[in-house]
Symmetry: C2
Subunit: 140 residues, 2 copies
DNA sequence: ATTCATGTGACGATTATAGTTACAACGGTT
DNA sequence: AACCGTTGTAACTATAATCGTCACATGAAT
C-alpha cells in the first residue's frame, strides 16, 4: 500500500462526518484534500460501492451509511484496494518445482505472511473512523 | 509493499540455511527462484548491507550472519525496503491549511496509521526465519 | 593468466497511480 | 420544459517503481 487512497478516503469520510450539516461537493472536498475533484469522485465511488457512503448521481452531498464507530479502518482500507488485491505481501510465482525449496516456499511463505496480515487487519478493525473524527474535533 | 523482494529475500535466506554445506552461486539461486541472477545479487546486496548475510566479492557462497532463530521477518522486511521507506501507509501531503480538517488530518492519520503499522511490525518480529526453514524442512 | 563470481550501472518493458480533460446522465430550480 | 450545477466515468498523459536484461569492472582462486 503506497498510494494515497487510504489516507484520502479517511480524509473524505472525516469531512462528511464533521460537516454533516453541509452538502459537500466533490469540488469542495478536493479543495480540502488539495487534489482534483475527479480523484475525489473516484475514491468516493469506491467507498460507495463498498457501502460506506450514500451518494446520488447529480446531487451534491454524500453521507455516511452508518455511525462513525461502526466504520472501521479495515472497512476503508479494503474499500480502496484496487482489483481484488487481497494480499498485503506479494509472493513470487513459478519458483522452480525441481528444487525442494522452490517447490515448497510458496506455501511456507503464505503461512507466515498471512499471520502478519491478520495481525494488521485485526488492528485495523479495532480502529474506527470515530477515533479519527474525535481526534480531529478535539483539535478544532 | 507489492513487490516480490520480501518473498524472494526469504527464499534466498531459506536456501542459504537449508543448503549451508554447499556454496551457492547467484546463478543457482536464480534458478530456484526462477528469475535473473542479477535480481538475486541486488537483493543479496540489500541483505548484506543490512547485516543479515555475509558475502565476499568474487567468491560464491554467502552465509547467514547469525542463527535462523535470530533473524526475524521484520529484519528481512526492513532490509529490502527501498530508500528510507519507513511508512506502511502513505499520507497525502499539502492538505488545505485553511480547512480545519485539512489542517489537522495528517497528525490524526499518523496517529492511527502508526498504531496499525506497529501491530504488523510486532507480529513480523515475532516470526523468524527459523519458522520458515523448519516448515520447509518438514516438507522435504 | 585464466576463469568464474560478485557488485553495479544502465536501459527497456511493464505496471500502478495521480492528475487532467471531456462529456453523458441525473436532479433540482425556475 | 429548459437550465444549471453535480456526479459518474472514460480516456489520455506524466510520473514513478519494479523487474528483467546486458555489460563490465573488480575480486579470488587455481
Amino acid at each position: 500500500m503506497n498510494n494515497n487512497r487510504f489516507a484520502v478516503a479517511v480524509h473524505i469520510l472525516s469531512l462528511l462526518e464533521l460537516m454533516k450539516d453541509t452538502r459537500l461537493t466533490s469540488e469542495y472536498i478536493a479543495g480540502s484534500v488539495n487534489t482534483n475533484a475527479v480523484v475525489i469522485r473516484r475514491i468516493m465511488g469506491m467507498l460507495s460501492k463498498a457501502g460506506l457512503v450514500l451518494t446520488s448521481p447529480g446531487v451534491a452531498g454524500a453521507s455516511l451509511s452508518r455511525p462513525t464507530d461502526q466504520i472501521t479502518l479495515l472497512d476503508i482500507y479494503r474499500a480502496v484496494q484496487s482489483g481484488g488485491q487481497e494480499e498485503l505481501f506479494a509472493i513470487h510465482d513459478k519458483p522452480n518445482p525441481d528444487c525442494s525449496v522452490g517447490r515448497n516456499i510458496q506455501s511456507s511463505l503464505e503461512n507466515v505472511f498471512s499471520q502478519a496480515q491478520l495481525a494488521l487487519e485485526n488492528k485495523l478493525s479495532a480502529l474506527t473512523l470515530d477515533q479519527v473524527t474525535t481526534d480531529l474535533a478535539s483539535k478544532m
